[in-house]
Amino acid sequence: MILDLIPSTLRMTIPLGFAALGGIYSERSGIINIALEGMMLIGAYGYVVGAQASGSAWIGLSVGIGLGVVIALLHAIATITFHAEQIVTGIAINILALGITEYLIPTTDRVPGLPELELPFIGSYSVLVYLLPVLMVTSHILLFKTPWGLRLRAAGESTEALKTLSLSRAKWQYFGVLLSGVFAATGGCFLTSEVHYFTEGISAGRGYVALAAVIFGKWHPLYGVAACFLFGFASSLELANQWQIPDQLIKSFPHILTMVVLAGFVGRSRPPAALGKMES
């Protein structure tokens, strides 16, 4: 029974996990990222466009990530260089991504999926499934064990800290936001590589669930991906629902849990101190 849930849990977890890692990079550097949803959507779209034009899944992945970076760059320029309101910009990016993908909708021909690797007993999965744990651990080491990560986090904890070391806060924030574009778009690519075609709004709120996982996981790569796994497991229960629980309740599980965590009932989740703040 539990073994049957593994494939669907993984399929739900992977896109969330990538987007959540992206969210962590951006928010750790101090930039609120509500645009994860749009970045995933544009990544999913780019994958299909690239794979369709070239017939190669790898080119699809590159185009998806490329578009994710472009849209992340837009978020970065607006929020970091022009000090635009970060939440509004994020929402605008989501609207923009929805508009672009609706305007230039690709044909519904099947596109190739990413290559799969065989795992004993539980089946074969897309390479991205194996990549996520690697990136999770790498991100943890990068953020918490290297000077590079220390600086990125310093950008998110204080508006002045990097300045006193005569380092540019903006540069590190650009890093964070662009990385979030790479990761979130990869998550989006996974979505379309699994179903082999693009449908309008295929991200379906997953970016927001990933954001919830970032908060639930206390802005920490290991906990964040673990939260995604929990959410992914919960939504796979929806498919194997034997207890007549309304699907809608299961679907709301991540959202309710996030509110509970934010209220501090299950361990306080503290955001980076200078999240959303710009020096004036």
């Binding site: 605008a92 923009l96 959202h255 996030t258 955001p271």
Partner: protein, 362 residues
Amino acid sequence: MNIRQSFITFFNSLILQIRQLIRNLLPPLLAICGFFLLCGIVLILRSQNPWEFYTTIFISGFSSFDEVGSVLFNATPLIFTGLAVAVGYKGGLFNIGCEGQLYVAAFAATWIGMHLSLPSVLLVPLCIGTAMITGAFWGAVPGYLKAKFGAHEVINTIMMNFIAFALTNFLVTSVYREPNQMIPQTSQIHDAAHLPRLAGILTFLPQSNLLNASFLLACACVISCYIFLKYTRWGYELRLVGNAPEVAEYGGINPRAVTVWVMALSGAIAGLAGVADVMGYRYRFLDGFSSGWGFTGIAVALLGRNHPFGVFAAALLFGLLNKVALDIELILEVPRGLFLAGQGLLIIGLVCMEGISKRNNG
């Protein structure tokens, strides 16, 4: 001499006010011009005639009373959601939860409208009141969580959106679905709960025109919000907490209490957008009826500079865009995604201009 001096003072203050007005109006106007320019460029890239695009917008939006009525009809829910966001913003709060608030409110109005048979004079206010209270509750929860635990209202309103979608989806598919219907919608509300179409009174509108009394409600709401914000004690408290919470606290205002009621008020106004759809147009609850009004409300408030009259004007513009999108799609074969993408860029442009001016001034 005295007269001359007072004249000069008056003249100077007039110039100052005009300058202020221009400073306030310039960014939105620039953003709108940029938007239409961008649409034109896209049309040229599609090797179509951009002029045709502009004339289609004009014809589809203004060529008859019928068209104008439809524009106003399309603008109605956006006036409510725009006002809701603006009121929250003035109080220093970001209500991204309008979409969820309008769904639960719409369902509440439908429930009352379906289950109670009362004369119109009682039923209509009862439906509207229930909807507002439901919307207020949905807004007040994130407000309370912010006041009590310091949880950011943006995240919580987003989460409450998803919970509202799930809740109303559950109610409409599993409990109150119209019998023998595939479409996820409830049965119709009683006739007594309908808001009348304005075509009955305004004879120059054709009978098929959808413009209804919810538009008048929206106008009343704009004026009430203006008076409320500018001339009442509560409006003053709201603005003070929005601008300088520390000052407000020093002045004896409890910012936490204000946070809760501002979110409730914002949710109540957002709920009226649901009322407009249920009682003025569809006469039932249809799952997923709103085409992102809650999110467009953010753009409307931003473009209207969070001023009730500005919000009204911005809502008319977006109502026009929503109305003409269909015609543009039919006549010029331009997908409506163009407007959506343009909307996103318009918002980004606006917040960038705001960010720059804030950085330069402060």
